[in-house]
Amino acid sequence: MSLDQNRLRLDQPSNDDVVVPRRGRGTELILLLFAVGISTFAYVNVDLGALGEVPADAMAYMGSFFAVAIVAHIVIRIRAPYADPVILPIVLTLCGLGLAMIHRLDIADDTSRASIQLTWMLVGLALFVLVLFVIRDHRILARYPYLAGLTGLILLVLPLMPVIGHSIRGAQIWIRIGGMSFQPNEAAKIVLIIAFAGFLVQTRDALALAGRRFIGIDLPRARDLGPILIVWLAALGILTVQNDMGPSVLLFGSFVLMIYIATERISWIILGLMMMVGGAWAAYQFVGQVRPRFDLWLNPFDDPSNQIAQALFGLAYGGTIGTGLGQGYPDMIPIAESDFIGAALGEELGLAGLTAIILLYALLVSRGLRAALVLRDPFGKLLAAGLASGLMLQVFVVLGGVTKLIPMSGLTTPFMALGGSSLVMNWVLIALLIRLSDAARRPAPTEAPSYTDDAVTQVVKLR
């Protein structure tokens, strides 16, 4: 009974009790050990399945994963002690499974991309540490939204520059400097979400309230439509000039969601959807890459050697429990190591494994959204919601694409797909989410909040 009384006391704090939320660092450590274990097990399993032997570097592999886990954990303990304890273990598990699958495809294709990916993971970890140390309070990110927006747009345009820009598989989204390739749109994704959040915090009142009502929808004023039009045009620009569908969907989608969250007006979603449909129609008519992908989506078996058909064959071959790591034929799926890694995992881990992976992503997104709900400052709320829903959109677009739910568009599977720029920038994104969740779970300061809170200036809606 004393236990129950104790719980009662915790649930209903009295005034003289200051409730300190559990930091969860111990939980995080235990979950991290699981993540390292799962990653190592997957890696060993690949060799056992494909070659019938335990890889010689199994211990070294486990060691390096463990090192990454411990370093990240210690940095969080120092710089973000209240951070959500589930985020890092999820990310590490996803990285580990992705790395195991890349290693598995290395065996099939006689390449060594896994070690490159592991190196990039270390670079990502370094940036993760850097972000957590440099950005002590996420609100400093809100200071220069227009500068951030400009930076984001420049990053988007970089691949079009002569000399440094180049295209791979028809998509002009790469830059190459001194033998190093990088996709600047992966960085632009994060910079632009920061810019949106800052911009929306400044202008949301005008966006939310001014305008007229038309057939039941509150339409914004024409001049407030500017930002959404700019982003829409930017999205269409990426689509047409760089011939890449994924980033434009992601960019426009997260912007519309953020503007809706900021203004609480459903009309923005409706407007956004209409513009999306219009853009999609125009893209279908005029953009080289869109129509074939749409046709392929509808009739994947016209040419059974294509990606979608092979991905479906792989998923079907895996069935409910999968072939087991190393025992399927994921190398038959074109570019299985990057865009189609979801299908490759679905083949060897089956419906069960792929479901687990999707649920891991869902859990990660839900942790981000939870931070958004709890955070007290509007910028933080918007940023967390934007990052989390952007991640969700990306996962949906790429996994939906490889499983023929929606037309395929080039996006990487976060944390799993081969690709340095994507992996590194996703670690930055996670650092920001850790920072935001730390702010959300940190006990409220006892003095008056320094930042203008929602409640201080009430906007009165007149209509």
Binding site: F313, A316, Y317, G319, T355, Y361, L382, M392, T403, L405
Partner: protein, 496 residues
């Protein structure tokens, strides 16, 4: 801002649910269909990496085996006596998929069958390489060889059935093809063998006009001609209005109803004195006009009903076995068409299998057994049985008494009539000849169906000769060409 964040969260949940529902659909419900697709190389490669089970004859002689070889595909499918058994085994080809038993029993042969699930689990644990199960056929090698040799260079087919069980003892179709090059691991060899048979539309290479890949024994219905008179006689006896010695008209020419045309007898003469004959005599000499009369008297509904009780208008050996064709009695013939149908012309078509089923039902006291070609399915250890075919009654085609009378008529055909070439010394044989006109510009089809011993039947045979290149056209007839083959097959089965 919390309420829109909650709504966005709900939206995210919907996206996750959409992904989960979609992959569940693909991996749990659509997967069988995707894995069965011929253009799914993944499944083929996986199959080749596993030892495919053999196809065995009734005496356990293998007619399709997998042998281990070097290369990407670890096992090579081989057919020791390719042409002889090709209509039954079919081929197993990387480029052109599979046919016949290789297709129908693919799950067992490849080891994917659900009944081998436990076995696969054990293999998984013990690290044993998974293997396929065996398919044991009902085919008797002696009967098969006799039929194959008997057909010689003629184009045609032979089928033999165990009358008491429905087990198919021989199934030969000529010309045949060699399935070995189709199973080759060399794509060019496969392609060449395929083009030899099916031609190549892209390069204007016509298909082989002899269609060697067609299984004429079960898949190609032809006009049965006079052997359909067995069905007409059965209908007459079953009606209760006729006995074997009932006297009916048998003129030289029969006036078709509602028509100026007349139907002649082959001989041009009447079948008996005063243009009258008994049914037994009409059967013995294959009298067209007498059976035409019976057809007009009985009407198309009675004939169709009798034909259907013998198995017409429904598919034997369905897609799960060998994809036999359905033999037809026309839906709605007018009066003259009914008369022509009664002697196996007009739109009546039958496969050799169907006509063997008619004989087998007569032999089996009127009970038609469901024909089958698979004796049993065996687990990958090749010893333990996972399924055994139990003989099954398909229908009671005719009464005991009708069966007895028809048997006597058929014995008369062999002993004193058109089927004398099927006589076996010391064993009574029952049979019926047929020579069916098709188009005026091509030779008639020679038919023969029989069973033996007539007093205690065990084997029924049907033979059809489509073309006999070494025989003069006027000499093509069921009695002359087809009966000796049936005799050889029956002898092989009876061991005499």
């Amino acid at each position: 801002m919390n309420s829109p964040i909650r709504r966005v969260s709900a939206g995210c949940l919907l996206l996750v649910l959409a992904l989960l529902v979609n992959i569940t659909y693909i991996q749990a419900f659509w997967s069988d269909e995707l894995n069965a697709r011929g253009d799914n190389r993944r499944v083929t490669i996986a199959e080749y990496a596993r030892e495919r089970g053999p196809i065995l004859l009734a005496d356990d002689t293998p007619v399709a085996v997998s042998t281990e070889v070097d290369g990407d595909f670890q096992f090579l499918r081989e057919y020791p006596e390719g042409r002889l058994y090709a209509p039954i085994t079919g081929y197993y080809s990387y480029l052109y998929q599979r046919s016949a038993i290789e297709r129908a029993q693919n799950e067992v042969l490849s080891g994917e069958d659900d009944r081998m699930f436990v076995r696969r689990l054990i293999d998984l644990v013990t690290g044993e390489e998974p293997k396929g199960g065996a398919v044991k056929l009902t085919i008797d090698p002696a009967a098969q060889q006799a039929a194959y040799d008997g057909l010689g260079d003629n184009k045609g087919a032979v089928i033999a059935i165990d009358t008491r069980t429905g087990a198919i003892l021989a199934m030969v179709s000529k010309p045949s093809y060699d399935p070995n090059p189709l199973a080759s691991h060399s794509p060019s060899e496969q392609r060449e063998a395929w083009i030899d048979i099916h031609g190549d539309a892209d390069n204007d290479i016509p298909p082989d006009p002899d269609k060697p890949a067609d299984n004429r024994a079960i898949a190609q219905p032809l006009p049965p001609g006079s052997i359909f008179k067995l069905v007409t006689a059965a209908a007459a006896l079953e009606s209760g209005d006729y006995e074997a010695d009932s006297v009916i008209p048998g003129p030289a020419r029969y006036q078709l109803p509602l028509s100026e045309r007349t139907l002649p007898n082959q001989s041009g003469e009447a079948c008996g004195s005063n243009d009258q004959t008994t049914i037994t005599n009409a059967m013995r000499i294959s009298c067209n006009t007498a059976f035409a009369y019976l057809g007009e008297e009985l009407g198309d509904d009675v004939l169709r009903d009798q034909a259907e009780r013998f198995g017409f208008n429904s598919q034997p050996l369905t897609n799960e076995d060998l994809r036999a064709a359905t033999s037809r009695f026309p839906d709605d013939p007018d009066a003259p068409q009914t008369v022509l149908s009664a002697i196996g012309q007009f739109d009546v078509t039958a496969t050799p299998l169907q006509m063997a089923m008619v004989s087998a039902a007569i032999a089996n006291d009127g009970v038609l057994m469901d024909p089958y070609v698979i004796q049993e399915l065996r687990a990958p250890d090749l010893v333990s049985t996972i399924e055994q075919t139990e003989p099954e009654e398909l229908s009671r085609a005719i009464s005991n008494d009708t069966a007895r009378q028809l048997t006597e008529m058929m014995v008369e055909v062999v002993e004193n009539g058109t089927g004398s070439n099927a006589q076996i010394s010391g064993i009574p044989v029952a049979g019926k000849t047929g020579t069916a006109q098709s188009a005026p510009d091509r030779p008639p089809y020679a038919w023969f169906t029989s069973f033996a011993p007539a007093d205690e039947p065990s084997v029924a045979v049907a033979v059809v000769i489509e073309e006999a290149p070494d025989t003069a056209r006027s000499d093509i007839g069921g009695g002359r060409l087809a009966a000796p083959i049936a005799k050889a097959v029956m002898e092989a089965v009876l061991g005499v």
